[in-house]
């Protein structure tokens, strides 16, 4: 089952099939669901970063007008580990009354020591974050290639520098939350949840309530952003469903903005010292990193330890790395768009440019010299695999972007330029795995009235997944994407793999193709029976079925459907199981390296203007070249890339969760002091999609946000000739870096 050789729709620019509904406010997100007699719920949270709950008194709250139900999340005696930790939830008839109820709850706390700063946790002598450990430091990795002690001997130049990026928040515009409603007998639960994993959310609630399979239905018709932070039912999901059961009424519980920022997800920080050395031509011979960072109370690493240095690791002989996790009294980190990769990129790509400056080498030439080589064995076995062609991909993309941004003329050595406002250009590379998997069962139904429906349990986070389904089905059936009715985001349609790690498009597309082709074959077989011809004498062309058994008679689509003689025909499609693929090499190759694939490159270049008097950085132009295998919808792909770049510029220049050492609270859990750029803050962005249809479908969500910050950091360095160590590169930090270069007493 290959992709069609001649593609009428796949790879073209197709408008979103749900675009008008979303742009005119008619699309109903989970936040917009209003059920009859629905109650509103809110969660009471700890104001302390670390404390023991001595007592909880809800008597007064339960007497407040409108009170309906209470759910205790923590009991007296429990410990809270961050400001925002959940204690209890209340449902009331209106949101206003619910807020009144929460104000009447009396809780006594015994405060405990806390740490909300990475540097404090690095020096900690006690453990404030819970679990094992004498202090807040977790040794998360120590690695060295053999004989590293002499690694920098003989280098033409070495550079040692500080690099890093702050804790940031996902800031999904639709906050986490849901509406929960039980049926009259309290046996079946329906939730309308804002989630990236529809079946997993239903599954989590089913497990919590110990219900038989199929009793919980999760619906997510439209979804207002997740970025990795919305998997599973979450505490608010359980609390909301518990309240709905107690109150015997539908309950809505959506986090408010302050909650969304303090508990809805953070990306871990990463700070490190990097030493790098190379030959006079610019070949990197040794890379050493000692880094730390926090994922809040989580213990997991904050970088992608195994692929540090990033991208170029396979080309560098001597590598030493050390990583410590500095646990803090902050919410547990969640996956955020390419987990670990932006951090790795920051700790690699910026050090590379600093070394290039020492060696007086052009950063683009230096990158070409250090590309990870194609792995010959992989290239021989299957030329479509990432390992077999990674250097080829990067070389092609660098050549494209070199011309697009006029690098040869526009780039100048670091720190050149007259006047107070300096212009600079910087580049960075990235990679991501992506890749599809099952189960993602899809069903395509062709109805006698000519309508076509495709259904899947998967979800559309704003990635245009509905449109992906419509494009593939329309391609196979000779229709237009707008002709196909797409139903998704419903756990009763079966399992799906969830939308994380850029896997949705590669995970679903082959299953959709299979379902569409199966439905087409069933349709043609049924029609052939009615027309008394062989099925292979019928051919679908745009809008018509051609009957080669009858003088190439052209039967319009709707007429052909009307001749079926049955209400509908269907086709199902899904991945072969893991076991089937393990046992059948051809099946594995077909699904994993032809229909879908994994592993992408990507290169980005930023142009910035830095005002050396105010420290303000303005990103003025940005170029991004990105591959993702076979492009399904070029329009949506370009949107994803530009969006990833904008997210990257945001965390390069504006975003940071700022915590107060004294109170242990975040001081900017909002959108006024947690900065996100508006339209005026964003550059002109030039996106070039490097289409490689022979590779099959690969995801596009994560890659384009990975290297943006490093590219901006390098552009700032190129502009002013000094490195600003830590993102976000705020005016204060730019000025500090500029002043540090000058002697204190000239």
């Amino acid at each position: 089952m290959p992709w069609p050789a001649n593609r009428r729709l796949i790879g073209t620019r197709v408008q979103r099939v749900d675009g008008v509904d979303k742009a005119t406010g008619r699309a109903k997100y989970s936040y917009d669901i209003n059920r009859p007699r629905m109650l509103h719920a809110k969660i009471l949270r700890s104001p302390y970063a670390h404390a023991t709950i001595k007592s909880i008194d809800t008597a007064a709250a339960e007497k407040v007008n409108g009170f309906r139900a209470l759910y205790l999340i923590k009991k007296a005696g429990a410990t809270v580990f961050f400001a925002g930790d959940e204690i209890l939830a209340i449902a009331a008839d209106t949101e206003e009354h619910c807020a009144d109820c929460l104000r009447e709850v009396r809780i006594e706390y015994a405060e405990l020591p806390h740490s909300v700063k990475e540097a404090d946790s690095l020096r900690s002598t006690t453990n404030t974050a819970g679990g094992a450990g004498a202090n807040n430091v977790v040794a998360a990795g120590d690695y060295s290639t053999a004989n590293f002690a002499n690694a920098f001997d003989g280098a033409a130049a070495t550079h040692e520098g500080e690099y890093g990026a702050a804790v940031i928040s996902h800031q999904c515009l639709e906050s986490h939350g849901l509406v929960a409603e039980w049926d009259d007998k309290q046996q079946n639960l329906t939730v309308w949840a804002s989630t990236q994993a529809v079946p997993a959310t239903a599954g989590g609630l089913q497990q919590h309530f110990k219900l038989p399979a199929g009793r919980v239905k999760c619906i997510t018709n439209y979804m207002g952003g997740g970025f990795g932070s919305k998997f599973g039912a979450d505490i608010q999901g359980i609390a909301c469903a518990e309240l709905a059961r107690t109150a015997r009424a539908a309950v809505k519980l959506m986090l408010d903005r302050s909650e969304e920022v303090t508990v809805g997800g953070i990306r871990p920080s990463a700070y490190g010292t990097v030493k790098v050395g190379g030959t006079k031509e610019g070949r990197v011979t040794a890379y050493e990193v000692d880094c730390y960072g926090t994922g809040g109370v989580a213990r997991g690493p904050t970088v992608n330890f195994g692929v540090l240095p990033y991208v170029y690791g396979p080309a560098i002989t001597n590598i030493k790395r050390r990583h410590r996790v500095t646990r803090t009294n902050i919410q547990t980190a969640r996956a955020m768009r390419a987990p670990g990769h932006p951090q790795n990129c920051i700790l690699t790509e910026q050090a590379l440019d600093d070394l290039a400056a020492r060696l007086n080498v052009n950063p683009m030439a230096m990158r070409l010299l250090n590309l990870p080589p194609n792995v010959e064995a992989d290239a021989m076995a299957n030329p479509r695999t990432y390992l077999g062609m990674r250097a080829t991909i990067y070389r092609a993309e660098i050549e494209i972007i070199r011309k697009l941004c006029n690098w040869d003329q526009a780039w100048h050595p670091p720190g050149r330029g007259e006047g107070p406002i300096k212009t600079g250009m910087g580049m960075a590379l990235h990679t991501w795995g992506g890749g599809g998997n099952g189960p993602n069962p899809t069903r395509v139904t062709i109805n006698a009235n000519g309508s076509v429906t495709a259904q899947s349990a998967s979800q559309d986070l704003g990635t245009a997944q509905r449109t992906v389904m419509a494009i593939i089905v329309a391609e196979i059936l000779g229709l237009q994407p707008s002709d196909i009715t797409i139903v998704l985001g419903d756990s009763s349609f079966g399992p799906s793999t969830g939308s994380g790690g850029s896997t949705t498009c590669p995970g679903t597309s082959p299953a959709i193709l299979k379902a569409a082709e199966t439905a087409r074959d069933a349709f043609l077989t049924a029609l052939a029976g009615r027309l008394n011809v062989q099925a292979n004498q019928l051919v679908i062309e745009p809008g018509v079925v051609i009957n080669r058994g009858n003088n190439n008679q052209r039967i319009p689509w709707a007429n052909a459907c009307g001749m079926l003689g049955v209400p509908n025909v269907q086709g199902n499609g899904d991945w072969p199981t893991q076991q089937q693929r393990a046992q059948n090499a051809e099946l594995r190759t077909e699904w994993q390296t032809r229909l879908s694939n994994q592993g992408v490159g990507g290169v980005q270049i930023a142009e910035v203007k830095v005002d050396t008097e105010t420290g303000v950085v303005k990103c003025t132009r940005f170029w991004a070249v990105q591959d993702c295998g076979m492009i399904i919808n070029k329009l949506a792909c370009e949107s994803q890339v530009a969006g990833g770049v904008i997210m990257g510029i945001n965390y390069a220049l504006y975003e940071e969760c700022i915590f107060d050492r004294q109170t242990g609270r975040q001081v900017n859990p909002d959108m006024e002091f947690y900065k996100l750029g508006g339209i005026a803050d964003m550059p002109r962005i030039y996106v070039h999609m490097h289409d490689m249809p022979e590779r099959g479908v690969i995801g596009i969500g994560e890659p384009p946000t990975i290297s943006t910050c490093a590219a901006v950091g390098n552009a700032i360095f190129n502009a002013i000739g000094v490195r600003v160590p830590h993102a976000p590169f705020t005016p204060e930090r730019v000025l500090a870096a500029l002043h540090a270069r000058r002697p204190a007493n000239p």
Partner: protein
């Protein structure tokens, strides 16, 4: 000068916060879009104090997208919450709830307002328009159509707010330049990062060819 007048002449919160990032703060006070002054309906009673309503719920009528809608709310309920929670008009979204992000942007008597910064009782007797008004007789207005063509939306949660803000600029000045239209969007934030495609939509709506 009494408090009412003072509010009337002060820059609105929307204008003040129009720039969301560092680069635009210098132009924040000269924005194109302007908000209704909040609290305009609260008439000072004898003695200077505002006339009292509440705290109990009262019946109100709001004219939403040309239709009178009645509900019973406490006076503390914002226009945004009245629309979403009491009238099931959900095109305006609640995101920051503090007059920063623009997701709740509506038009009141033709001017853009953050619905989260206004009480519902203040909106009585005024023409309230939400993004839903831009779809009539099965047809989308030119502004949402341009958004769809340019793919100027991803998750779409901020989109109705942007669409209303853009519509207000173009209704106020059908000859607006792309730069003027873009300025009218500075009070809105998109998290998915669709600004580049919004610029494509703006140029299309202004009938200006976008150069390199």
């Amino acid at each position: 000068m009494n408090e009412h007048e003072n509010i009337d002449v002060a820059p609105s919160r929307r204008e003040f916060l129009q720039g969301t990032g560092v680069a635009v703060t210098a132009t924040a006070l000269s924005g194109l879009a302007s908000a209704e002054a909040p609290a305009a309906e609260l008439q000072p009673a004898a003695g200077g104090a505002p006339a009292g309503v509440g705290p109990t719920a009262i019946k109100i009528t709001l004219n939403v997208n040309g239709r009178d809608m009645q509900t019973t709310i406490e006076p503390r309920v914002t226009l945004l919450d009245a629309l979403r929670n009491y009238l099931d008009v959900t095109g305006c979204k609640r995101v920051c709830d503090r007059g920063t992000c623009g997701a709740c942007t509506v038009m009141i008597n033709g001017k853009v307002v953050y619905a989260c910064t206004m009480l519902a009782i203040e909106a009585q007797g005024k023409a309230i328009r939400t993004a839903e008004s831009l779809f009539t007789n099965g047809q989308a207005d030119a502004v949402p159509t341009a958004f769809v063509r340019a793919d100027a939306q991803q998750c779409g949660f901020c989109t109705p707010g942007f669409v209303v803000a853009m519509k207000a600029v173009l209704e106020g000045n059908p000859q607006a330049t792309p730069a003027q239209v873009e300025k009218g969007l500075q009070g809105n934030i998109c998290r998915c990062g669709t600004y580049e495609q919004m610029r494509d939509a703006i140029y299309a709506l202004c009938n200006v060819r976008r150069g390199n």
